[in-house]
């Protein structure tokens, strides 16, 4: 568990925020550039001192302006990966990896070099010099170096932002493996909601140095504040559930999310946990149950809220306790007389829904100290 509360004033910038990140999950700090994300990283790592505040990591007070506690960065055991990998240019890959490992100072060392080399695919790179690496390889080495420092918290500050799309797709699977296999709480800073959807369980929404909202990904997706910050691209709903059936011939997975059963065109294995993102613009609303239609999901829903946007309306729908978003035009709202408490049908194309394997750390055995209470995660 990480508790963070800090305020800081600069000439043109004011930061005053508070959030907590349940361990051992991945918490995303999401916001536009200039929102204060990197300042939070520096404050957490101990590279910057807040004017007032309190930072507590797993019951250890790292900073407290009231009592004057301020643990220096070198003793916080919070390892960082920055956008520009920041590998030491005078050392080779192996020496870079071992830099933090040699300075662990009596902390337990559950993460072995062999494990990291395997997990991040670094075997072929060990003898290389840093300037011979591609951008994606640099970030993998940087990740390995941070993990081998045996951190109590891993801080990833836009680790993919300086990579092109191809390199990003090369590194993302490694981040997913790391999330699934290494039990260290991670704070992931990003301005790409796509990355947040793929990696994070909790989101802290930042703007102008303040927290606009925070909570599980599925709930934050419903926040008007997110829609205002991130735009149409991220408007959609997140449904998490497990695969009950996968039809190999059709390439269709049936996923059970609470009482809702959704068919999506995603390759998956039965019982696997999936996170499904349904873009709001791909959901069609019908007043009657349509029979002969190509969409694989016709879901009876109830409208709970209308969120007017520029040029369209975002309908917040509910089905069996789960939320679904649909973006429709103002004229559709008028003609269909869509309003709160109206019951209708949501048509969701199986091919429009994006599915990601997402075990969710809270579901993983064994339950150790720091593991969170059941039911907190969907």
């Amino acid at each position: 568990m990480l508790e963070f509360q800090a305020s800081l004033r600069r000439e043109a910038f004011k930061l005053n925020l508070e959030f907590s990140a349940p361990a051992p999950s991945v918490t995303a700090l999401f916001g536009r550039s200039g929102a204060g994300k990197s300042t939070v990283v520096a404050l957490l790592a101990g590279l910057l001192k807040p004017e007032r505040g309190r930072i507590v990591l797993e019951e250890q007070v790292l900073f407290d302006s009231a009592t004057g506690v301020n643990a220096p960065a070198e003793e916080r055991a919070i390892a960082c990966v920055f956008q520009d990998a920041r590998l030491f240019p005078h050392l080779d890959v192996r020496a870079n990896l071992r830099y933090g490992q040699h300075r662990v100072r009596g902390r337990p060392t559950p993460i072995s070099e062999a494990e990291i080399v395997e997990l991040l695919g670094l075997a072929r790179l060990l003898e290389r010099r840093v300037h011979e690496l591609s951008g994606g390889e640099k970030q993998r080495v940087s990740l390995g170096r941070a993990l081998l420092a045996q951190p109590r918290l891993l801080l990833l500050d836009e680790p993919l932002a300086s990579l092109d799309a191809a390199r990003r797709d090369e590194v993302l699977p490694y981040l997913e493996r790391l999330r699934d296999e290494i039990r260290i709480p991670i704070v992931y800073v990003s301005h790409s909601f796509d990355e947040v959807l793929r990696l994070a369980e909790h989101v802290v929404l930042l703007e102008h140095g303040e927290v606009l909202a925070s909570g599980p990904v599925a709930r934050i997706c419903l926040e008007p504040a997110l829609h205002a910050i991130a735009g149409e691209g991220v408007m959609g709903s997140v449904l998490e559930g497990s695969v009950v059936n996968y039809d190999t011939d059709e390439g269709l997975a049936t996923v059970k999310c609470g009482q809702l059963s959704l068919r999506v065109a995603v390759a998956a294995a039965p019982r696997e946990r999936l996170r499904i993102f349904v873009p709001a613009g791909d959901v069609v609303i019908a007043l009657n149950e349509v029979k002969e239609v190509s969409t694989r999901n016709v879901i009876p829903v109830e409208i709970v809220r209308l969120e007017p946007l520029e040029g369209s309306v975002l309908l917040h729908l509910e089905v069996g306790g789960r939320a679904l978003l649909a973006r429709v035009t103002h004229s559709a709202v008028r003609e269909l007389r869509l309003a709160e408490e109206v019951r209708c049908y949501a048509l969701v194309k199986a091919v429009a829904a994006q599915g990601r394997r997402f075990p969710g750390r809270g579901d993983r055995a064994p339950a150790g100290p720091g593991n969170q209470a059941p039911g907190e995660r969907t």
Binding site: A45, G46, L47, P72, A73, E74, E75, R76, A77, I78, A79, C80, F82, D84, R86, F88, P89, H90, Y99, G100, R103, V104, R105, R129, V130, H131, E132, R145, A146, A149, L155
Partner: protein, 232 residues
Amino acid sequence: MSSVALSPSEWQAFWLSLDVAARSVLFSLPVAIVVAWLLARRRFLGRTVVDAFVHLPLVLPPVVVGYFLLLLFGTRGPIGSWLKSTFDLQLVFTTAGAALATAVMSFPLVVRAIRLSIENIDPGLEDVARTLGARALDRFLTITLPLMTPGILVGTVVAFSASLGEFGAVITFASNIPGETQTLPLALYTALQTPNGDVAAARLAVLSVGLGLAGLLASEWIARALRRRFGR
């Protein structure tokens, strides 16, 4: 034949020049590293004054520097008399004195070269080292110092070459004593003052040009080798 070969006294001047230059670099390098680091990485009161003071020898006539050294380090100067009474060490009219004079003169060149290389180091690297558990001295020794080596090496070569040619400050502070403080330029000057000394002067001049070129080539070669190593 005799007109090409160096005379024993000229050889003496040659070796003495190398000796003085080597000692001067040895004197100035550790101080220059600290000063360069302070100027590049620390904000402190009087930083501009220190900066200007360091660069003073570049803009002052060398004779003036020699004169101030005489005032400070002369047998009756505040530092000179203390050195004499405490360590029985005399700098005026000695090889060590010549080395001190050249060290002061070449100091700004060393500081500039090292400072430039420190300013080229991304402070983010030192931050990362901190988060990986490295304390201040550890960081300096394992990150900052290795990354400054290009500047230190280039600064050393430049300072060494410049020291070989220092004239005004040496002759003012340490005088022109063969075998003790008479380095190449001083020997050359003496040869020019001597009747029929022009052949000797030419030999010494060619030797100086050769040494200077060797120094410049060495610094260029080092810079290139380091660029390859760091891939910049």
